[in-house]
Structure formats: C-alpha cells, structure tokens
C-alpha cells in the first residue's frame, strides 16, 4: 500500500513533537525512520497507525484520505517497543487475538484460526511454542511472536517501533535478517523506527532521517552516506 504523509504536524500542549512534515512511502517499501530520541519519529509512526491524531495535515493510504480512520479501521500491524504481548494469554491466544476480535460475520471458524496461527508460527520459525506464556520466552522470541500477532490480522502495512531496541547485539543481527525476509515474503509496506543508524542503513530500502520534529533527509542508504544533506545528517550517520 502506498502511504502519503501530507503536511502532518503534532503538538502536545505547548511542546511541538512534529513540525509539518511530508513524506511519500512507495508501496512495498521497507522504510526506516531514523533519528535521536525526541526527533518525532515515534509520533509519526503512531500517527500512521492511528494511535495518535495529527494536529494538522493529512494521511493518505493508496490516495484515499485516511486521517479520520480509527485505529481499528487502519488495519496496521503494529509491533510495540517492548512488544506488549498479552501476558495472561498463551502465544497461540496472542496471535489469534486479532482474528477472534473480528465481528462475527467476518470471523474465521475455529479450525481456520488454528491453521493460520500454525502457519504464522512456522513463518517466524517457532512452531513449538504455541502453549507458552510470554514470560517464558526469550527477548528474541517475544519480538517474533509480536510480529506474528501483527501479521495475523492480514494488515495493510507493518509498523514497528524500535523492534530491536530491547535485544542484545547477536540476536539483533539475526532478527534484522528475519524482518527482511518476512518483508520480502509478504510484500507489505513496512515502516520501522530506530535510533541505530547501522540498523537503518543495513535493513531499509529508504531511510528518513529526522531531528527535532523535522525530516532532515530522505533517501536510499548509499545516497545518504554519500551525500548527507545537512550537517546534522553528516554528524548523525558518522556517530
């Protein structure tokens, strides 16, 4: 799905989280929102997912105005920073949640839900863990379960907030590859937030560098490396 952000601004009381920013995300792209904390990248992601509403500006999905759509209507697969798995549910119930939450007429029958959850567990390469609780999983496993749960609703796009932030360096490398593969298999337009420039440069097709609620530069990783548009970008990617 093609996403267009048109002059989106967001203020919380007297603090400005986002200056008016505009950005076009081509269908099927893997995009990184890169910047230090307080740069507005998470706010922008949450606006795309419908968890925040912009103070002004519009969001367009495939050319249609989606600004007023509720979080449920957006159908965005969202992976939270600390994964936010439902701690009182098993992995199976976590992944099945979105399917079971559908209105009765579009809810798949029980056998179909089971088939889809099994398939997703295979996709994240954790077929054995359906009956475990989140507290019994490692950090990397939790991240993959969160990804499977987001994919279960057949989302129109995938949004990830610091998906590798809580993991140690080795697992992080592995899971980067995992996200890339899942993106390539599903073909979903994917946006992830990160403060780690290596991660953004290695994984993304398109990197959006942000600072102080503004977009500093948008480009392919190699172009940003070769031609940083502002002193901030040069400093940030060299750090």
């Amino acid at each position: 799905m093609h996403i267009e952000i048109d002059e989106i601004a967001k203020t919380f009381g007297s603090t400005t989280a986002l200056q008016p920013v505009s950005l076009a995300i081509p269908s099927g792209a893997l995009v990184a929102l890169l910047g230090p904390s307080g740069s507005g990248k998470t706010t922008l992601l949450r606006i795309l997912g419908g968890l925040e509403f912009p103070t002004s500006g519009r969001v367009l999905f495939d050319g249609q105005d989606a600004t007023g759509l509720t979080v449920q209507e957006r159908r965005a697969g969202f992976v939270f920073q600390s994964y936010a798995l439902f701690r009182h549910m098993t992995v199976f119930e976590n992944i099945a949640y979105g399917l079971r939450a559908r209105p009765r007429r579009s809810r798949p029958p029980h056998a179909e839900i089971e088939r889809r959850v099994t398939k997703l567990l295979e996709l994240i390469q954790l077929p054995q863990i359906a009956d475990r609780y989140p507290s019994q999983l490692s950090g990397g496993q939790r991240q993959r379960v969160a990804l499977a749960r987001a994919l279960a609703i057949e989302p129109r796009m995938l949004l990830l907030d610091e998906p590798f932030g809580a993991l140690d360096a080795r697992v992080r490398k592995e899971l980067r590859q995992g996200l890339r593969e899942i993106h390539d298999t599903t073909g979903l337009t994917t946006v992830f937030v990160t403060h780690d420039q290596d991660e953004a440069m290695e994984l993304a097709d398109l990197v959006v560098v942000m600072s102080m609620g503004r977009i500093e530069q948008v480009g392919r990783p190699q172009d940003i490396r070769a031609r940083p548009a502002t002193p901030f970008v040069r400093e940030f990617i060299e750090a």
């Binding site: 968890l51 798995l85 979105g98």
Partner: protein, 298 residues
C-alpha cells in the same frame, strides 16, 4: 590538604571472624529481637483480641451464644449488614475501576486533584461524612424534604446507610488498581486496539484479566470495611433497633446494655465474616498460583 587518594584517609577495619554471613543478614541477636517484637505485636494486637471475643461469646456455653444470635434483633442486624455490603461492594468496584481507568489511561488537566479527591474519605472522619449526609439529605434539607415527601427517605433508612458505606469505602478498589495499572502501562491496550478490538472488548479481554487480582484484593478490603463501618453509619442510621441497626451498631448497643454474650456472639459472627473473605482470597491465590506467576511482569 586533600591529595586525591582517599585510601590514605579511610581506615580499613580489621577482618572479624564473626562476620561470616551474607551481607544482607543481621546478627543472630538482632534477628531474635526483631522476630520477638513482630510475633509479640501480632499476638497482643491481633490474636489476643480475637481469642477474647470468641471466649466471651462462649462464656455461658455455645447454646446460649446461638440462642442470642437467633433473636430477631441479631438476625435483622446480620441481614442488614449483608444487604449493605451486597449493594456497596459492587458499586464501589465499578466506581473504582472507572476512576483507576480514567486516571491511568488518559492524560487530562486536574488529574492530581482527582487522585486527592479519591483519597478524601481516608482523611475525613467517618462521623463528619455521616453528618454531611444528614445535612444534605435530612428532613430539614431541600432535597431530603422532597424525598421524604416522595416516601423515599434517605436518612434513618437503608439508602443513607448505603451512601455512608459507599463514601467510607470509596478509595479501596481505586487505590489497589491505580499502582497496578500505572505499572502495566497502556501498551497492551493499544496493541489490542491495533488488532481491531473495540474499546469494550479491550477492557474485557486485556485490562480486566491483568487487574483481576488487584481488583479482588480491593473488593475484599472494601467488603470487610463496608461490613465493619461504625462511625458514619451510626450518624445516618438513627440506630433503630431491628430496622437500621447494622451489626457493629447492634454490637455496641448490646454491649452498653450489658448483654455481653449477645454482643460478643454477634462480634464473633462479624469477625468470622472478615476471616471468611480472607480465607477465600488465600484459596483463590493458592488455586491459581501458576496463572498468577504467569501474569506477573515479563
């Protein structure tokens, strides 16, 4: 002058052979004293009074105690107290959940003030609360006069007792829930919303299961206090024997009239009702221990 090498100034104590124990453990003497103080305090303040109450109730035999409980005055007090608790506790559970939800899941102006307001019943004497209800709903007030004319009196009747109990026990559920809900944050609810769940479904399938233990604990505290409340209820009930006298009030009246077996028998029943809720909680925790461990923080 300070020369930058603090090692020169701090004397290193000689190693003592008696210090071979974990750093967090006190010496045997200190441990013994602390345990003695704790157990002694528990015995004098909790166990002894309970035993005395039971002993006084059975002073003239179990038959006499049971006969005193079968009297209409005692039966009516037990029934009234149970009715009041049955109305107060569910209402305060709903109010408590609503207040805790509002405070922890939304940001708004005056939040700190609302938290203070919830604590108000803890800082105001129940007697004052009772008097305020009498002034507001008594026969001489505008609202009270009208309600009496409609044949629905509040003061010296069941509604007044329920209102007083609700006021006094208002903070219990909210106080238990707020810290738990703050600690759990909003992420799980947000995740459920992005998965397409409606607000009501999110509450039932995500929020409620996460807070159920805190809610149960708050409800039990609320129940114990609602059954035991004396001051506020004494003011609004008018202490009409067999009609508006709850268990604590009946106990006091019996005791003042030297019906000591009757007073302590009823006191025993009240204490047992409290112990019953405690036992219920322990049983639930024991039966769901594995689930309880799983729902704790990751």
């Amino acid at each position: 002058m300070f020369d930058g090498s603090p090692e020169d100034h701090i004397p290193v104590p000689a190693a003592r052979t008696s210090a071979w124990r974990p750093v967090t453990q006190e010496s045997p003497l200190v441990r013994a004293v602390l345990i003695a103080v704790a157990l002694g305090g528990l015995a004098i303040l909790v166990v002894a009074p309970l035993i005395v109450v039971f002993a006084e109730a059975l002073a003239k035999g179990a038959g006499e105690a049971l006969r005193s409980l079968a009297k209409p005055e005692a039966l009516s007090a037990i029934r009234l107290t149970l009715i009041v608790a049955a109305i107060t506790v569910p209402l305060n559970a709903i109010f408590g959940i609503a207040a805790a939800w509002t405070i922890t899941k939304f940001d708004f102006r005056g939040k700190a003030f609302l938290i203070t307001l919830i604590d108000l019943p803890f800082s105001i004497s129940p007697v004052v609360a009772g008097l305020a209800l009498v002034l507001l709903f008594g026969t001489n007030s505008l609202i009270g006069g009208w309600l009496v004319a409609q044949n629905f009196p509040i003061i010296f009747a069941l509604p007044g007792i329920v209102l007083a109990s609700i006021f006094v026990t208002f903070p219990f559920v909210a106080r238990e829930l707020i810290p738990v809900m703050i600690e759990q944050g909003r992420a799980e609810e947000e995740a459920a919303l992005t998965l397409g769940a409606s607000g009501w479904r999110v509450f039932l399938t995500v929020t409620l299961p996460n807070i159920k233990w805190a809610l149960l604990y708050g409800v039990l505290l609320c129940n114990a206090r609602a059954m035991g409340e004396f001051g506020a209820v004494a003011v609004v009930s008018g202490k009409i024997r067999g009609q508006t006298a709850t268990m604590p009030i009946t106990i006091e009246m019996m005791y003042n009239e030297y019906f000591s077996v009757a007073a302590f028998s009823l006191a025993t029943v009240l204490a047992l009702l409290g112990l019953l809720t405690l036992a219920l909680k322990t049983l639930l925790e024991w039966r769901h221990a594995d689930q309880l461990a799983a729902t704790r923080r990751h």
